[in-house]
Symmetry: C2
């Protein structure tokens, strides 16, 4: 076989791996959005089987042979990137026994209704055994990949393979050190921001509002759909990138910002090059980059002053409450250190919710914290960082779905993604009249800028290289802190 | 390995085949019910990959080895049944190249939007090349399995493996010979049946009505859901058996009977033994038996006089049109030889729609009919059998989804299933006070009777053995013709 033939056979196989993964992704969407409750046992079998098959395809001896043959070949940069990405995943996966992969998939699928019911009851104990089982399986998984490294470092690479946990921890420390005095100053301020909403808003009105927002920012409906889910998420392919939201009667801006957030994810997915579908060149870079897209749209667009100047009339039309652009801008940016729920947190305190989860999950995975201690540690840290205590575990340590999915190492990517969002926003402003465009409801130039700098590349570059190419600098907390200090300094009239 | 170990390894593998098949089934549900239009290219790749993987698992050399080892083993009847079913499928599948299986899946998945648009435009020509491609692939498929047998006979066995095409043709001839004079007599009758519905009925009211009907007959909502689809169908597993329906503004009883029909299918699926999920013992017998369940509920329950005595008040409540039980009974059983659409046909003329399709697809597959001739032949046969001609292909040869799915050989199972429904209904009446129970809205005894006689057996018996065990007789048109002559003789006051 020539290198050309080898690469072609290799790429066919790589596409099959991608298709099986996407099939499983759609079954998970179905499970969280439309599946009846009784379907769990069968879905769990289907998902663990697909997960096992994907693993077998990825670890196939043929893949090892092709990779070896391609090792010395003179590949163009795109092909070399495909080889780099598959090789990395292949080598990790070869370390993990098939049975362990299927077991993790089966256990997490069965964990979902247990977590849902425990969360509803507010009782961590109902979920403790399940969580202990998931933690043990994830530790076993990390040890299989590399028994000599920090297991949390190994797991973090599932979500962000190239940045490195040390860099991540440094950046998060820079962020925390910058945020703590800013939040203190905000708390000390006498300024009271506007709070125009009172009472409850009908789901139908909120739905009409978020549908209009999706159309405004440019969600392609022929390649997507909006549904509701208890924990909003987005998933799919460049051909079918779906978003979900949820409606809270008393908080009509929550569904709006959550939907714009998920649109950011879906817009990335829809912007991937379709001709490379099924291969790393047609797949999104990892979680930090994905979250940068959602955060950029949610915060730097959807929480900006010009956005409310553009969209205030639409909000008033649908919700019926009179509010000026300034009122809405203030309402969307009020800092609430007493808020308990991560997904409802403001732009500043959000990152302390993340730090808390990061510390707990790191200690769980390192074996420094027992599962039974999670609620107490959670509640104490909430008290320390934000001065509030959850009344039950439903609004405490059971609020997030991630651990149910065995996603340990995922949380830090949320904050890192937010920092990248600020860095991209600053870079985009050097090229575009972003404020003016947003004020006029012209979102095309930003979508195109992001498509050009981020989306079209798929996994062509590693995360650090992509960030460098898109913004001219490596990732840091600087641009976010500068943005936060300016914005919240003005809102709260700080010195 | 002991025979016990061999059987255990074999069964694990069999379950994986089942799970992959069900995963694909859910992706097809998604494609027809919720997927955005743009999703087709990716879905087609996902489905053809899963179809190829299922085929590889089924034809694996391990399976051949296990089957050989189990050949002489002393297996209990249940295990022997599992081996019989898997062996049959394995041997057929081994004849078909993997590439052909993936190609059929890819082509049929891409065919769906082509068919939908051609049907909407009423233009067969838009679909002709696609259909020609599907026919050619199906002929290639039949020839791969057995180049020496009638290809249509081979394809029929995909849907009903044990009855035999000769038996099927004999029974269908008996049916046609019995029906033709009965329909003639009905057409000659002066009786005008009641037609209480006029104008259009809102989808919300129709939906509320069919929801209430599903609750009445005992659809388990924790293991199912109702959606809409252009061509109603049911699919899923014993844990998650979904139904779809469609609402026609001017025909408010159509959605009701179609929903009860799909409930019959789902009730069979929900009644399969869950402990055998993924194996033939937990899977439904083939299409004739499946259709007997839907037809029994649709016609022998949902179109019966006692059903309308029970349900008339509910219909009036939801639709607002005053109608007596007798009016509704007549409206649900009016014979319309001038109707063009199979799924809207009455109990009698329905079978002539089937005979027409059976003759056309048999000739297409045998190579005796060119695809280009389909519309003309279709329209002429409609004229011959029912005295009507479609005005365009949308209400003619494009009305059914089956050929788009490459399902040649499927149509005869609809009529054969209806005949089995009548045979089961007659047998159930020997054990149950069915009329009295239906009149009182007690559907549990019939569900249990069917569960006991049919559902719980999965594929334990072959079709002829299951029919014999359940009804004491082999399949024939006799019970259906006796039922039809009595019912329509009374309705139309025939001699």
């Amino acid at each position: 076989m020539t290198a050309e033939d080898t690469y072609a056979a290799f790429l066919d196989h790589v596409r099959r791996i991608g298709y099986v993964g996407d099939a499983a992704g759609h079954l998970r969407w179905d499970q969280e959005v439309v599946m009846p409750e009784g379907g769990t046992p069968a879905r769990s079998k289907q998902l663990s089987t697909l997960s096992g098959i994907r693993h077998e395809l990825l670890t196939d001896d043929d893949v090892a042979d092709w990779l070896e043959e391609l090792d010395g070949a003179d590949l163009d940069p795109d092909r070399a990137a495909v080889v780099r990405e598959v090789e990395r995943e292949h080598e990790r996966a070869r370390q993990v026994p098939d049975e362990l992969v299927e077991e993790i998939s089966a256990v997490t699928s069965e964990a979902l209704p247990v977590w849902e019911s425990a969360r509803e009851a507010g009782e961590f104990e109902e979920f403790a055994d399940t969580l202990a089982e998931i933690v043990a399986l994830r530790r076993e998984y990390a040890a299989a990949i590399d028994p000599d490294r920090d297991p949390y470092e190994v797991l973090f690479e599932n979500y962000e393979p190239y940045l490195g946990i040390d860099t991540a921890e440094e950046i998060l420390a820079e962020l925390r050190d910058g945020l703590v005095p800013l939040i203190d100053a905000v708390q000390a301020s006498d300024v009271e921001l506007a709070a125009p909403f009172e009472g409850e808003y009908a789901e139908a009105d909120q739905r009409a509002l978020v549908e209009e927002a999706l159309d405004a920012v440019g969600y392609d409906r022929e390649r997507g759909r909006l549904d509701t889910a208890p924990h909003p998420f987005s998933s799919g392919t460049p051909f079918d990138a779906r978003v979900t939201t949820r409606f809270t009667p008393g908080e009509p801006l929550d569904a709006l910002s959550s939907t714009i957030h998920e649109f950011g994810h879906a817009s990335y997915t829809q912007g991937l090059p379709r001709e490379h579908y099924g291969t790393p060149l047609g797949d999104s870079r990892d979680m930090v980059v994905h979250e940068s897209q959602s955060r950029l749209w949610e915060n730097h667009v959807g929480r900006s002053r010009p956005f409310w100047e553009y969209f205030a009339g639409t909000v008033v039309d649908h919700l019926g409450t009179p509010a000026s652009a300034r009122d809405l801008y203030e309402a969307a940016n009020t800092v609430h250190p007493d808020n308990l729920i991560r997904v409802e947190a403001d732009e500043l305190t959000y990152h302390l919710h993340i730090v808390l989860r990061f510390e707990i999950e790191r200690d769980l995975i390192r074996g420094d914290l027992d599962v039974a201690e999670v609620p107490a540690v959670w509640n104490d840290k909430m008290d320390d960082y934000l001065g509030v205590r959850p009344e039950d575990d439903g609004e405490g340590c059971l609020q997030d779905i991630h651990w149910t999915h065995a996603d340990f190492g995922y949380f830090p990517t949320y904050s890192l993604g937010s920092l990248l969002a600020a860095q991209l926003d600053a870079a985009a402003r050097a090229d575009l009249d972003l404020d003016g465009q947003i004020r006029r409801g012209e979102f095309g130039p930003l979508r195109e800028w992001l498509g050009e700098r981020i989306h079209r590349h798929g996994c062509r570059y590693t995360t650090p290289d992509l960030i460098e190419a898109a913004t001219g600098e490596s990732l840091s907390a600087g641009p976010f802190l500068a943005y936060a200090e300016e914005k919240y300094g003005a809102l709260y009239e700080l010195d």
